[in-house]
């Protein structure tokens, strides 16, 4: 389980005077479930890229359990992300031509981390997300099923944190609810911190805390009342 501590963060892109993201101080407790909302262009995607180590930070600290990934090299950030962060994206980024289980295992295989325990876990996770045909080719699946495969992939290496970027945006309401359930249940079951970027008010309403972004700043940070415990 990982907790996040951000200090004095400022992300600027060349050609823009105002920073794309500026966070003076933010902490997310290990095991908490946080929603990130805001209009498009408010800095949400940059936030995701920064906390997952996809983008390099020049100013500020990004500490996961007091490990500052801002100081890591690119390969080290890649390794950290592979081992600690489970990513779920709006577009599933699954690879056609491979089966469900092959897709779940692909990143681990490329990182030479696919032990027999991991392979067994991949099959278990597919069961947990409700897919019982592990050998089915990914291109023959529905979008809801694809996102479930993507969730299984994100959880494969028992990440300390799950970061989901608009996980329900490209799904219909029913599949969206199912995916939301899975994310919430699995984060609890696996003991992972959960950070969800979403416009989906039903999904957001089920989390514990909401961060609202505007123009690269957090303008609101509030606990959500009545959230499922």
């Amino acid at each position: 389980m990982l907790g996040l501590e951000i200090k004095h963060l400022s992300v600027r892109f060349s050609g823009l005077s105002a920073p794309a993201l500026a966070i003076e101080n933010l902490s997310i407790a290990a095991g908490s479930r946080v929603a990130v909302t805001g209009a498009s262009g408010s800095g949400k995607s940059t936030f995701v890229n920064i906390i997952t180590g996809l983008e390099r930070v020049r100013e500020g600290c990004i500490s996961w359990n007091s490990e500052d990934i801002a100081g890591f090299s690119e390969s080290r950030r890649d390794r950290f992300r592979a081992a600690n962060i489970g990513l779920v994206m709006q577009e599933f980024h699954l690879f056609p031509g491979l089966s469900a289980v092959e897709n779940v295992l692909l990143p681990a295989r490329l990182a030479h981390a696919a032990t027999s325990a991991i392979i067994a876990r991949a099959h278990d996770l597919l069961d947990v997300v409700g897919l019982n045909r592990a050998g089915q080719k990914i291109e023959t699946m529905s979008r809801g099923e694809m996102q479930r495969v993507a969730i299984a992939r994100a959880l494969l290496r028992k990440p300390g944190v799950i970061v989901a970027d608009e996980p329900t945006a490209s799904l219909d309401a029913e599949s969206g609810d199912a995916v939301g359930d899975l994310l919430l249940d699995l984060a609890v079951a696996e003991g992972s911190t959960l950070i969800v970027v979403s416009h989906d008010s039903r999904l957001v309403g089920r989390l514990d805390r909401r961060l609202t972004f505007r123009s690269g700043c957090i303008i609101d940070d509030s606990a959500i009342k009545g959230a499922a415990a």
Binding site: L54, D78, L87, F95, G97, L106, L110, A111, A154
Partner: protein, 428 residues
């Protein structure tokens, strides 16, 4: 990783096939040039191998070799018959055989020669036996005639508007074993018959000394026993006439003499002795070597053209792969985001490209080999010279060089993919 690469290649099958074909065709072009040139060189060298020393009247050495070894029709100057007699008596000579050209039958050259040469040239008969009288002939392994078949010699060839000799028709008595040379397409007849058929015409062309010599030969052959008297009067050849292969100074003029010296030293001495104004003596292998030196330049040009084609293909492949990587940015970015290390991304892109090129090179070698085989087949059919198509060690080097080049080329898109920032790639 391999499964992912294969799935990826299957997904991009059309582009993959185009890349493989491009590489295959460019490789095949280069390979076939090299193989064909080598086949020509080896084939003609093997064809010339049977002939240690060729002696002819003064003139072009190359023409002498082309006519005697490859049986290319041409009008060679004649040398006096006493050269043959002298050679036959020379202790350094194992055997000597005159050859006379000029006639043909259905496109096959008719070569007048001796029983010794006929028996030696292919190391034996696949059927039948050697000729024993003027009206008999032995055919090369590729001549489409049967034992007992009739051959009506034509003076010159159909292409040059020859006429058919009516003086004599040969009957096939034997077929030689294959030699892989132009002689497989030849009809071998007693040279005595060639002289007799051409007796009158030759007399007009030759100076009167030779005419006298030939007439003398007819008289001389009387004491060579048998029913030879018939051949006596006025160059009317007799198919049943026996053969006299004891050469004398009165032997008629000859275009070429094939000599089998006893030793290599003898070969060099004989060549020295018969290189005087009246005759030339050549080692066919040596003449061919000179010829190849000239052909070598042509090969260089062909190789340069083939290399140019390969460079063009390489350039177009660079273009294709750079565009391709641009299109795959999201996929590569996603792989990175989900935790694939950069090294693995490099490996995937590099291997994908390298596999395509390697398959292309392999296919190209096969295609080039096939093309060379087909070309050699055509050539063998028309000339009779067997062109052995085969790979040599240096072709392995060529394959290694091509693959090494491909490995370097594949690194370019791989580095592009490696350097790509996953966050930017996913944003696009």
């Amino acid at each position: 990783m391999i499964r992912f690469i294969l799935a990826d290649l299957r997904r991009l099958w059309a582009g993959s096939i185009v890349v493989v074909l491009l590489v295959a065709l460019a490789t095949a072009l280069g390979v076939s040039v090299i193989l064909q040139e080598r086949a020509l060189r080896l084939g003609s060298a093997r064809a010339a191998d049977k002939f240690d020393l060729v002696i002819g009247a003064g003139g072009s050495e190359t023409q002498l070799v082309l006519s005697s070894v490859f049986l290319q029709p041409s009008a060679l100057p004649l040398m006096s018959g006493d050269v043959l007699a002298k050679l036959a008596a020379d202790p350094r000579v194992e055997w000597v055989a005159p050859v006379g050209f000029g006639d043909s039958f259905s496109g096959y050259p008719i070569v007048g020669t001796t029983r010794t040469l006929t028996e030696t040239i292919s190391g034996g008969f696949s059927e039948g036996q050697v000729f024993v009288s003027e009206g008999e002939a032995v055919i090369g392994s590729n001549v489409d005639l049967a034992i007992g078949g009739e051959i009506k010699p034509m003076h010159g060839t159909i292409e040059t508007g020859g006429h058919t000799h009516t003086e004599l028709a040969y009957h096939v008595t034997g077929r030689l074993q294959p030699t892989g040379t132009a002689w497989d397409r030849a009809i071998l007849v007693p040279i005595q018959a060639v002289w007799h058929i051409h007796g009158l015409e030759a007399a007009e062309e030759r100076d009167h000394d030779d005419h006298a010599a030939e007439a003398g030969d007819h008289e001389e052959s009387v004491h060579a026993e048998g029913a030879h008297e018939d051949a006596d009067h006025d160059a009317e050849p007799d198919p049943h006439a026996g053969l006299n292969e004891n050469w004398t100074a009165e032997t008629p003029g000859l275009p070429a003499i094939l000599v089998k010296p006893k030793t290599i030293a003898d070969a060099y001495k004989l060549r020295q002795d018969y290189r005087n104004g009246a005759t030339i003596a050549v080692f066919p292998g040596e003449v061919l070597t000179n010829l190849y030196a000239t052909l070598g330049d042509a090969k260089q040009i062909l190789v340069a053209v083939a290399s140019g084609a390969q460079v063009l293909v390489a350039a177009s492949l660079i273009l294709v792969t750079v565009i391709h990587i641009g299109q795959r940015r999201r996929q590569i970015g996603a792989l990175r985001a989900f935790g694939a290390p950069r090294g693995a991304i490099f490996g995937i892109v590099w291997l994908e490209f390298f596999i395509l090129v390697a398959v292309g090179v392999g296919l190209g070698f096969t295609l080039g080999y096939g093309a060379a085989l087909i070309l050699s087949g055509f050539f063998s059919q028309s000339s009779g010279v067997n062109l052995p198509v085969g790979f040599a060690r240096e072709d392995g080097m060529l394959a290694v060089i091509l693959l090494a080049f491909a490995a370097g080329l594949a690194a370019l898109p791989a580095v592009l993919a490696y350097r790509q920032s996953p966050a930017q790639a996913l944003r696009v």
